[in-house]
């Protein structure tokens, strides 16, 4: 009878421990929402671009944590045109952690018309499985404005 009781207590302990461990892990994942990448400074190297021309953007990017990143990017003009750019995807910051300066270059599509153009970058980060599959870390889109001038 004593052995049976011990067995019961052991089972109860294991089940309780499993529940608590699951809850703890989940809570740990849920609470872990620090933004892993900060962009302190963005410069447009070519403030005016012609349609079909090249747009250069230089950004200081501070990689704070080793997290998976996915940045959806798109270009817009003031006349409802949109061009979806290939997203930036990486499992780890390609150059490791730290402050980096990155210059990127896009071709403004031919059909874009003169006026204000915008470059949108919507980042999404995953630092643990929960963020990877359910609740990624997001922050406000990075919006860069430039002028499209007539050819």
């Amino acid at each position: 009878m004593m052995g049976l009781r011990l067995f019961g207590y052991t089972c109860l302990g294991i089940i309780s421990a499993a529940i608590l461990a699951t809850a703890g892990t989940l809570a740990w994942f849920i609470a872990d929402r620090g933004v892993p990448v900060v962009v302190p400074e963005t410069t447009v190297l070519t403030p005016t671009v012609k349609p079909g021309g090249r747009l250069y953007i230089r950004q200081k990017v501070n990689y704070l944590r080793d997290c998976r990143g996915n940045v959806d990017r798109a270009l817009f003009d003031a006349h409802t045109h949109r061009a979806i750019l290939p997203p930036v995807k990486y499992e780890r910051p390609p150059q490791g952690l730290g402050l980096r300066v990155i210059t990127t270059c896009f071709t403004v599509p031919e059909e874009f018309e003169p006026g204000e153009g915008q470059y949108h970058a919507a980042p999404e980060y995953a630092c643990n499985p929960l963020q990877r599959y359910y609740w990624p870390i997001t922050r406000a889109q990075n919006v860069v404005k430039f002028q499209i001038v007539p050819r």
């Binding site: 019961g8 608590l20 809850a23 849920i30 609470a31 872990d32 620090g34």
Partner: protein, 151 residues
């Protein structure tokens, strides 16, 4: 009374015998030094009423027990007496081992309930904890920020 001179010794002796025989009747009743119960008992014995129906004739421990029985107790006893004959037969048919097994079953159910209570409590705690952490995370507070290294 005959004249003294006419009394022969033989007659006198007979007279004494008669007086001695009558003595108990002529004596006053002895004082009753006995107390209630014993007196009653002797009284009833003398009246041939020793039929065992009188409560004060029960042994002392039973009398004490009767005295402590409350109305509730009596009701309980009556309920017990009203148990169905099959039930009594069923319990009666159980041998020692079976009864022990029944004890084990009862203990199992009791401990299962305890275990269920423990599990409910732990589960509730876990859910509350995870919910609280999620609410804090939604508001940008990391409960584990002190525990996390780096960054």
């Amino acid at each position: 009374m005959p004249h003294r001179k006419e009394v022969s010794l033989e007659r006198a002796r007979e007279l004494v015998r008669i007086l001695e025989a009558q003595l108990p009747d002529r004596m006053p009743a002895p004082p009753n030094t006995e107390l209630g119960e014993r007196f009653d008992q002797r009284l009833m014995e003398s009246q041939g009423r020793r039929d065992g129906r009188d409560i004060h004739m029960f042994p002392a421990h039973l009398r004490i027990w009767f005295d402590t029985l409350s109305v509730d107790d009596v009701q309980k006893l009556e309920r017990l007496m009203a148990v169905k004959a099959e039930t009594v037969a069923w319990i009666d048919a159980k041998n020692g081992r079976e009864l022990q097994k029944l004890d084990g079953a009862v203990e199992f159910i009791t401990s299962s309930r305890t275990a269920a209570k423990v599990l409910i409590w732990i589960g509730g705690m876990a859910v509350a904890f995870v919910g609280g952490v999620a609410a804090l995370a939604k508001n940008g507070i990391d409960l584990f920020s002190m525990l996390r290294g780096g960054r």
